[in-house]
Structures are given as C-alpha cells and as structure tokens.
Symmetry: C2
Subunit: 298 residues, 2 copies
C-alpha cells in the first residue's frame, strides 16, 4: 500500500497458491478507512487498488522492476536461496531489498553475484501507518544502492534511516530491548506494576518522543542544548544505569506479574479484538501526524 499510494506499480508474488491474491484482497479492506483518514494522499481507493496486482510467477513479479522487496520467512537458508533467484531474475539495475528484522544482510548476500545491489530495508508493521524504514547495507553494498533505496523510501513518504554498520537488532529493536529490559527489571524488583510502566510511557515520555525523539528532547531540556544537558544530568543518569547491568529473566517470576496485569486489563480471548482497536488507534496517530505534525521542522 505504501508504494501504491505514492503511484508506484506493485506486483505481489507468493509461492503459496492464492496467497498473493489474498494479500491483495486484504489490502482492499484497508483502503476505505485509510482514505477517510487522509492516508491515501490524492489517490482514490480504486486507483491504489489498480496499481497493485497479484502475479503467479516470480519471473513475472520482477520483470522490468526498479525495486524488489522480499518478505520471506526469517530463515537464513530461505533468504540465501531466494536472493540467488532474485538476483538471477531481476533487471540488472534493480535493487533487491529484504524486509528482514532479524538477519544481517551480510549473512545472506555474501555469495550472491549481484551482492552490491542487495540491502535490507526493514519496515515496521504495519508499514502503511508507521513510516520508519531501517536501511541496512552489507559491507559490500554499493553507495548507489543505499542512496537509491533511501530516495525511494522518501519518495513514497516513509521515513528511512541508514544504519552506518551492521548490528544485531538494528536500531529500533535495540532501543526497544534497552527499554523493555529496564521495564522488566523494575517490575521484577517490586518497584512498579506493569500497568504503571505503560502509563509512564504513554502519558509521559512518549508524548515528546512521538514528535521529537530522545536526542531532540534532551537538547531542548537544558538552556545550552545537549552539551549543557549532559553536563547537568549525566551523573544522575549514570547512577541509574549503573544499577542496570543485569537482565531480569523476562520469563521468570516477573512474567507472572506482567501477565496478570495484562490479563486483568484484557482477557486472552479479547487479544484479537484489541489488535483491531490498536490498528484503529494507530491510524488515528498516523493521520494526526500527517495533519498536525506534517512538517516537523516547522
């Protein structure tokens, strides 16, 4: 949807019979709400739909394209095999990007003959609502491949960031890991209830982070900017981080607390309904950002 609403022709292919067609049907169900929320830009539902087609062979899918976005299961052998095929079939000037969130590009493109045009472009689910795309080059990925992938993502209205060198988890999941680890430690240590961690983030920290991020936040929180902030507060934060040098066992006793807290707010059989709720709220956040925060530099 992200590509089609920006006017790109999109071809869907999946080895499972009928899966690509089902994917297109699923996309159709998203469009009415997206249009209403102003998330299709100037394009009509019909036009976006027309730009997306399900095809039945990989050859057909990649013929004549400028960009391939691979979404196979997170299995190394599958990716190695698929990248070899894609490299053989796609036009020589097409970029081959993987959506992987878990594998490093060097692990599955090393032996690919056209490895300089291979890259990771990791979207965040659901990509039609969340703009971030993590672009991760392998050591042998061309500068031009990086630049063209970044330009394409910008062109379709996503927010690309280029990771400077490979690291496990890329940026988003590492930031999430650091935060979750402290959240589990605080509940495990008996300092906080799980629902209070959520309230701290939702009704506190995230209200700034959602339009500035952590560095701009601290840059504006001291009269002299970030250097002044670090001079004033590094000592205070260091006393805290020095007590964070161990992981709680997330699956230990703390998980009983967290699960009880979650199940007290939401029964297991309500999880699916709540996921629908989440996607509706996320759409409201996306629409709000598009309208109110449109140009964050202003």
């Amino acid at each position: 949807v992200s590509f089609a609403r920006a006017g790109y022709d999109v071809r869907l292919w999946d080895p499972a019979p009928g899966a690509a067609r089902s994917a297109k049907e699923y996309v159709k169900t998203l469009l009415p709400e997206m249009e209403e929320a102003g998330l299709l830009g100037t394009r009509s539902q019909a036009k976006v739909c027309e730009l997306i087609s399900a095809v039945s062979t990989l050859e057909e899918a990649v013929s004549g394209v400028c960009h391939v976005q691979e979404n196979a299961p997170e299995d190394l052998q599958t990716k190695i095999q698929l990248f070899a095929e894609l490299d053989a079939l796609a036009p020589s000037d097409a970029i081959i990007a993987s959506s992987t969130s878990a594998l490093l590009p060097s692990a599955f493109t090393e032996k690919t003959p056209g490895r300089t045009r291979c890259i990771v472009a990791h979207p965040v689910n659901p990509p039609h609502l969340i703009p971030l795309v993590e672009i991760v080059p392998a050591p042998w990925t061309d500068e031009a491949t990086i630049a063209r992938t970044e330009a394409l993502m910008l062109d379709v209205g996503q927010s690309p960031v280029v990771i400077q060198r490979e690291i496990d988890g890329f940026l988003l999941n590492r930031l999430q890991a650091a935060l979750l680890d402290e959240a589990f430690r605080l509940v495990d240590g008996g300092y906080a209830k799980a629902q209070d961690i959520d309230a701290c983030m939702r009704d506190g920290l995230a209200m700034r982070w959602v339009f500035m991020g952590p560095f701009e936040t601290i840059d504006l929180n001291a009269p002299g900017g970030v250097r002044d902030y670090v001079a004033r507060y590094q000592g205070m934060f260091r006393r805290m981080t020095d007590t964070m040098r161990h992981s709680a066992d997330w699956s230990g006793a703390v998980l009983n607390h967290v699960e009880e807290s979650r199940r007290a707010s939401l029964e297991t059989d309500q999880l699916q309904a709540r996921q629908i709720w989440r996607d509706r709220k996320l759409m409201a956040v996306a629409a709000f950002r598009r309208k109110e925060l449109a140009d964050l530099s202003k």
Copy 2:
C-alpha cells in the same frame, strides 16, 4: 493550571518577592491557546484565572487547604527545612506533596513530625500538557496519604502511577536513562547518526508507545499475548541486551557527534524558539490524546 481547570482553588506562594504574581501572569498567557485546544474542559479562561491567586505568606498559602504541592529547588536541606515548616503550618489533615524528580521522600521527611502525610508527587513538565504524575511514598507514608494523592490527581485529570518502593530516578527517568544509554552507545559505536535515533523513535517506536506503552505493545505483538511474546523473542532481545552492559561516556567523543547533529538541525540561538515550537506541538499532542484517544480502554 492542572488543579484550577478542574475547579480547585489554588494559592501560589514563593519566597522571592513578586515571583508568585509573575507565575500567575505566566499562567494567564497559557490560557488562550489551552482553551482553543479544548484543554480547559468546560471552564472559561476567566474562571480558571479567578481560581488561582498569588499570596504573600506561606501561612496564607496553606491555611485551610487539603493539598500542598511543594516546588522548591532540588536541594536536600531546603526540602527538609521547608517540609518542617509546611508540616507545622498546614491543616492537620492536609497532604504535603513534593514535586521533586531527584530526591527520595525518605531523605527529607524522616524527621518531619507529620511524616505519614508526606509524599512525592512528581509531575512531568509541563504538567498542564503531560498527564503523568509519579507518586512515591516513603516507607512511613500512610496508605491513606497515597490513596488520597492518587485520587486527587485522577480527579484533576492527571495520570497518577504509584511507585511501589523508593528507587533512584523513579520510573520515568529510569526508562529514559535506559533508552538514552543505548542511544549514546549506538552513536558512540558508529552504528547510527543521532538524527536517525530520533527518527527511529519518532516515526517508529513512539507511535505505539504514545497510546499503549511497552508492555501492552508486546502483549498485542504475539498471538498468545505477552507470555507467548517472551517465549518467542526473549532470546533475540537477550543477545542484544548482553552487549549493553557498559555505558558510553555521554560527555566523550560521542557528544561531539550528537551535538554536531543537533546543531546542524538547530543553531544554538534557535533553541529558545524551538522550545516554543515544542510546547505548541506538545499541546497538539495533548489535544489529540484528549479527543481521539480519550478513553484508551475503548
């Protein structure tokens, strides 16, 4: 403003001559935009203004009140002294709460005769836009003091969380510390540019956290809820957190990178203007949450 817009009589006092009156004048300048954004509820600017008065003595400020909110500088001796005075002057059934973000309540209320009614209620700046309030009891704080403080904060439309036992930094700053430490490590290690950390948070992670928080987010990210999520992903996250056992020196070489990145987006002499921008955007976020996300359980 938070108390007055909920209909409470508020008396401001500051030992510096004229400071309380200036504070009231400052509040007046906030009201037009707040009213326009729907952040004054059903009350008019005039009514809210009328409910706030600047008084010239501490006696006058606390006479007959149900709640005292202390906002002195973050200095231990100042707080010890002030709490002794407040305890002597305030009605015997009034709660005495400190806004401190840095000091533990046990450190400045131990010798206060009425220490069972003393507590920390730490708001997040600016409290008229950010609802979170961290309530931190000392070991000797009465259950009734905790419950009444929580009830008052709920009544005025803030989002109170009760910390279960004292810990340095409370919850919000500890979560921020964990996240910032990884942000500095990633820039220090040459993996990310500072502006890309901000984009990851702003255009990725925070879009869910701003209405769910981290635990609800993972609870909805696995078919079987949080237990299922931990079973699937703890190993992956543990590999990441195992490489986070050291702090970057925030004031070392990494600070040059972060500062260059920030100053490239924003010159030092623009910091103040950007703070005004931030407060305007924050007001938009607050108004959005009040309208669109009003009841997060729905």
